[in-house]
């Protein structure tokens, strides 16, 4: 048993070292789909600033619940208006700096090797399309959006029996990549990540539901100044360019 002590000492050293205290550190809770873009923006921000940025990536509903319970979050970047609205009603969001910064586009993706020619939404009714993956249309934003869109096109009734509900966008993408389903609805930014799916068609921005990514500082932020500063950088030209590179639609 004596051999365990060096390991323990090393481990405790690791503990003390990891949460090293920085000057001003802000915590940004952001929707998982923003991970790559925000990480890049964060690095760019830190290179010209002594403030440090930490990100907490997760599903918007989870993040909202954490903030509701008093998580020490400085900025909330949601993939969904409703979650932001809920927190704002509870007085947890600073309405002054709130912005509807980004939008995303729904796209229909097919496996790379798919021979199906799906060019219009009504093609989903074709008998050779047997299974369509969709993130839970009751709870997950992308699922909710997709359902709304199909309803507005008058296709939901016909398509509903073919729907395979999966847990989230990523699971939708994996089912399509593996060829286990014939098609799936995902965000344009997600489709850009995968090399093994192709976009059959994009839902035109004016026809699809409004997919909005709002961002705001929290009321309880202890680093208000730094948070506002980072918010400003995120919506600056430099920030917007990064978002566009990842396929987001920037709302002016």
């Amino acid at each position: 048993m004596k051999k365990i002590w060096p390991v323990l000492a090393f481990a405790l050293l690791g503990l003390c070292w990891s949460p090293a205290i920085q000057a001003t550190e802000i915590l940004v809770s952001a929707a998982a789909s923003l991970t790559d873009a925000l990480t890049e923006i964060g690095k760019a921000y830190e290179s010209n600033n002594k403030n440090r940025v930490r990100f907490n990536f997760g599903s918007s509903s989870e993040l909202a619940r954490q903030i509701d319970e008093g998580a020490p979050t400085d900025i909330f970047f949601s993939a969904d208006l409703e979650k932001m609205g809920g927190l704002e009603k509870k007085g947890l969001i600073d309405p002054a700096g709130r912005k509807n910064l980004l939008s995303n586009q729904l796209v229909l993706v097919l496996p790379n090797d798919s021979k199906m020619a799906l060019r219009a939404p009504k093609d989903l009714l074709l008998p050779e399309v047997k299974r369509i993956a969709l993130a839970q249309p009751k709870t997950v934003p992308v699922g909710i959006y997709s359902k709304k869109y199909l309803e507005s096109e008058g296709l939901w009734e016909g398509v509903a029996p073919k729907i395979i509900p999966v847990s989230d966008v990523r699971a939708t993408l994996i089912s399509v990549e593996s060829g286990n389903v014939d098609a799936g609805f995902v965000y344009k930014t997600d489709a850009a990540i995968s090399k093994r799916v192709k976009v059959a068609y994009e839902v035109p921005l004016d026809k699809g539901p409004k997919i909005i990514y709002p961002v705001a500082a929290t009321k309880e932020s202890k680093n208000k100044e730094a948070a506002d500063d980072f918010l400003k950088f995120v919506s600056s030209q430099a920030g917007k360019t990064v978002f566009r590179n990842y396929g987001f639609v920037v709302l002016e």
Binding site: L8, G14, F57, G70, R170
Partner: protein, 222 residues
């Protein structure tokens, strides 16, 4: 291995170890009480302790979030005294401890139950008091089961995901553990990175099994 992955690995190992050490004393006391004593409400306490085993980890995380969140008395009190538990390494520690506690208690409880009470009785006739009986007879005889329980708890802590993401978030460089990092990489479609971390996890699993085998063998020799 990149600095980031190195950091994630060391952080996960360290916090999991700390959580195992943290729960060890109380797990020993609880499992001994469960194995050896009959007391009122025992079944209720037992169920309560085992709850994280049957509940979805997210639910456990939610309960911890409720208890330690700033809007609730416990969390409020801690916050007022300058202790912030959520969304830093303490939150990770808390989630890991809560999730692995029942596993350690289960193993240790079986280990205590297997100690022949006759040996404890004889120790009493030889003049040993309660604490000496416990530390000189019961505990050493149950030690093997407790150690294997620790390895189990440690492995569970390393794999913990659902409760951690609720209580500590998924903050790269701060609360991101191996499991959370794998989740993030999968979410982002970075399969290569995810598999890299998976390899580390598998290597750690092998190391844990090898260690427990070694412990078992060295005990058998005595």
């Amino acid at each position: 291995m990149s600095a980031e992955i190195w950091h994630i690995t060391v952080f996960s190992l360290a916090v999991a170890l700390a959580s195992t050490i943290l729960i060890l004393p109380s797990a020993i006391v609880v499992s001994w009480l469960l194995a050896r004593k009959n007391w009122p409400l025992k079944m209720i306490v037992e169920t309560f302790v085992m709850l994280p085993l049957v509940m979805p980890p997210v639910a456990t995380g939610l309960i911890l979030l409720k208890i330690f969140g700033r809007r609730n008395p416990v969390g409020r009190w801690l916050y007022d005294h300058g202790v912030e538990v959520l969304f830093n390494w303490k939150g990770v520690l808390l989630a890991m401890a809560a999730m692995s506690f029942p596993l350690l208690v289960r193993s240790a409880r079986t280990a205590f139950a297997e100690v022949d009470p006759r040996l404890e009785q004889i120790a009493a006739t030889l003049g040993a008091g309660r604490s000496r009986i416990f530390f000189a007879v019961t505990l050493p005889l149950a030690w093997r089961g407790i150690v294997s329980g620790c390895l189990l708890a440690y492995s569970r802590a390393l794999g913990e995901f659902g409760a951690t993401i609720m209580v500590a978030g998924n903050i790269p460089g701060k609360t991101q553990t191996l499991s959370l990092a794998i989740f993030s990489f999968v979410q982002l479609g970075k399969d290569t990175e995810a598999f890299g971390l998976l390899l580390i996890t598998i290597a750690l699993a092998f190391a844990a099994v090898a260690l427990s085998e070694r412990l078992a063998r060295s005990r058998a020799k005595i």
